[in-house]
């Protein structure tokens, strides 16, 4: 008789979710689904608010990546005003975006995922956390904490506070950076670079021991989508969208982020609150694509900073085409952290960062504004329609985590099929299924922002898998 194994809650991710694994008559995995079980509603909450309030409101979507939402929201506001922001403001925005990438990746790598690959997938579950890591390698754990602290400290120094800073605004930013703040940021850089050398040196040998996981946890061809400079280098703030396939052939290039809706569609499924974006020319679900660290390194030809470029060249040698193994999201995250520190070094060495002209002033000149940036988990779009009084009529948020939804579900199913057998169910098997999700570092709070749109089905099953009751909404 068919049965279902439920992993609930999924641990060491940002937000709340569950995974259902369906077994066939012989007890083998027939399919699996990743359900996002939390629900927000920001797209609806914002209707009727003045667009100048949006960066502050959007920041509240997430406590991990509020800066990304402030940036995308401020950029949508820039477009509504129709202004080019002052150069110092643009540099500040870039600086905080790198700080955001650094602190978010440090959380994902050191606090949430490193216990899996440094302590072992089958290590006791009560030890697979930061404290277990501490017992195994105290210095490694300490450096992870300090790296996240560095990213957060930059946000605090420049934005005023580390979470939900009241800092970004349509037309620029609200605070100038002083020499005291700049000098403190620069004082952290040598330690941060040394920590990255240690982390990369520790991670690479571990990868050899994880060959089965790398091969069977989310290893499949998809498209990869990310932002690049006009020259094809890594870009996180302002660039053009490039899409490559699994062979690293360029599928689309020079796409305007403002026109995202012309090439990206959003589908819904009845069993999850999270939307399922897809690349329109290939349809749903064939147009599945991945975003985030792995995708960015696959689409970019270079990093543009010396240390990260060395790592990127080595990374690209891991495959003839694109690197398709989702497990390499973790290594990609480390390379991006290194790149972010190098960019923070460059930006804080630029006197233009300290200029006090930080905000362009103008009235509303448009009725639609789209802002995008590369958030830690991938490209983020904020799309606002406003009336002539500047009040929000409609909001669409296309969140990075949601753009990985199709790939995450496929990764869960592939991992379950390979590692899970109900005949001898081991905890380590289920941890590998969770680990498939952790590769993507999903931020579920961010990605469940719609309201009144998503249908919900609740199924009640007995221990034999028989359906006892079913409730449907929407």
């Amino acid at each position: 008789m068919a049965e279902r194994i439920v992993i609930h809650p999924v641990t060491r991710v940002e937000g709340h979710a569950k995974i259902s694994i369906y077994l066939d008559e012989s007890g083998e995995v027939s399919s699996a689904q990743f359900h996002v079980t939390e629900f927000r509603g920001f797209e609806k909450l914002c209707e009727g608010r003045p667009f100048h309030e949006m960066p502050g409101l959007m920041s509240r979507i997430c406590g991990i990546c509020p800066v990304s939402h402030i940036l995308a929201s401020s950029k949508a506001g820039d477009m509504l005003l129709g202004v080019e922001i002052p150069r110092a403001a643009a540099k500040q925005r870039r600086l905080l975006n790198y700080a955001q990438v650094l602190q978010s990746h440090a959380l994902s790598f050191f606090h949430l995922s490193a216990p899996d690959f440094l302590l072992g997938m089958d290590s006791p579950p009560e030890k697979r956390n930061l404290f277990g890591l501490l017992e195994s390698d105290e210095e490694f754990a300490r450096r992870g904490i300090r790296l996240r602290q560095f990213g957060q400290r930059i946000i605090e120094l420049v934005g005023g506070r580390r979470i939900h800073p009241a800092w970004g605004t349509p037309g620029g930013v609200l605070r100038a950076v002083g020499t005291v703040e700049r000098d403190e940021i620069r004082s952290w850089i040598p330690e941060a670079l040394a920590s990255m050398d240690i982390a990369l040196g520790r991670m690479k040998p571990v990868l050899d021991a994880l060959a089965p996981e790398i091969e069977h946890i989310g290893n499949f061809p998809t498209l990869f989508l990310g932002t690049v400079t006009p020259e094809g280098a890594l870009e996180y703030y302002e660039g053009l969208i490039r899409i490559v396939d699994a062979e690293r052939n360029i599928v689309a290039e020079g796409l305007d982020p403002h026109r995202y809706a012309s090439y990206l569609g959003e589908a819904s499924e009845e069993w999850s609150f999270m939307k399922f974006p897809f690349y329109k020319p290939l349809g749903y679900p064939g147009g599945s694509y991945r975003v985030g660290p792995l995708a960015r390194l696959n689409v970019a030809q270079s990093a543009g900073t010396p240390r990260a470029d060395r790592e990127l060249r080595e990374f690209k040698h891991r495959s003839q085409g694109a690197v398709c193994q989702s497990f390499f999201y973790h290594l990609a995250r480390l390379i991006e952290m290194l790149h972010a520190i190098e960019r923070i070094d460059e930006l804080t060495d630029d006197p233009e960062l300290l200029r006090e002209h930080i905000r362009a002033k103008a009235g509303q000149n448009r009725n639609q504004g789209v802002g995008s940036c590369e958030a830690p988990r991938g490209v983020l779009f904020h799309d606002y329609q406003v009336d002539d009084n500047g009040l929000i009529c409609k909001v669409n948020l296309l969140i990075a985590t949601a753009q990985n939804n199709l790939a995450m579900n496929r990764a869960v199913e592939q991992t379950a099929r390979h590692f899970v057998s109900a005949r001898s169910l081991q905890e380590g098997m289920l941890n590998r299924v969770e680990a498939a999700i952790r590769c993507f570092d999903p931020c579920l709070s961010c990605s469940t922002h719609a309201v009144g749109q998503m249908p919900l089905v609740v199924e009640l099953r007995d221990s034999a898998g028989e359906l006892l009751d079913r409730a449907e909404r929407g």
């Binding site: 809650p9 606090h111 697979r128 930061l130 404290f131 904490i145 300090r146 996240r148």
Partner: protein, 141 residues
């Protein structure tokens, strides 16, 4: 710790506003406890740490010691307890001081700023008690 946009959940932040910073006292407002606080406690060279939090299950304000003890952490890893932050600080930075958890009674956690009268009174009482503890510790030494 707490969220000032959820009614009485901001009671600890209110208490912090009433405690004079500077001198030997460092204040830090957070929505939740995270590992980086271990480094902050160590860098500050703290010998005593007070954690303040809203407590819906209490009817009276309490100040209880947070014991330094071995902890394994929680698998969810969304946030940490005071004991876990202290354990990290002890293990990574050799913290050997004292720590206390101040539980302030709180009832209303709906959306919006502002405290109930009971929570407002609790914030004042908590601030007074902690300031007296701090003053007493410096008088003794």
């Amino acid at each position: 710790m707490g969220n000032s946009l959820r009614g009485d959940d901001g009671v600890a932040q209110r208490a912090l506003q009433l405690i004079a910073p500077g001198g030997h006292v460092r204040l830090r407002q957070v929505c939740q406890l995270t590992p980086e606080l271990a480094a902050e406690i160590a860098i500050a060279g703290a010998d005593t740490v007070f954690f303040l939090d809203a407590d819906p299950s209490s009817t009276e304000m309490t100040l209880e010691p947070v014991e330094l003890r071995s902890t394994r952490g929680t698998p969810l890893a969304h946030s940490m307890s005071p004991a876990e932050v202290l354990e990290l600080t002890r293990r990574l930075y050799g913290f050997a001081g004292e720590a206390f958890l101040c539980r302030i009674p709180a009832k209303y956690f709906g959306h919006g700023e502002g405290l109930s009268p009971q929570a407002e009174a609790g914030a004042h009482a908590a601030a007074k008690m902690i300031q007296e503890r701090i003053a007493a510790s410096f008088t003794i030494s």
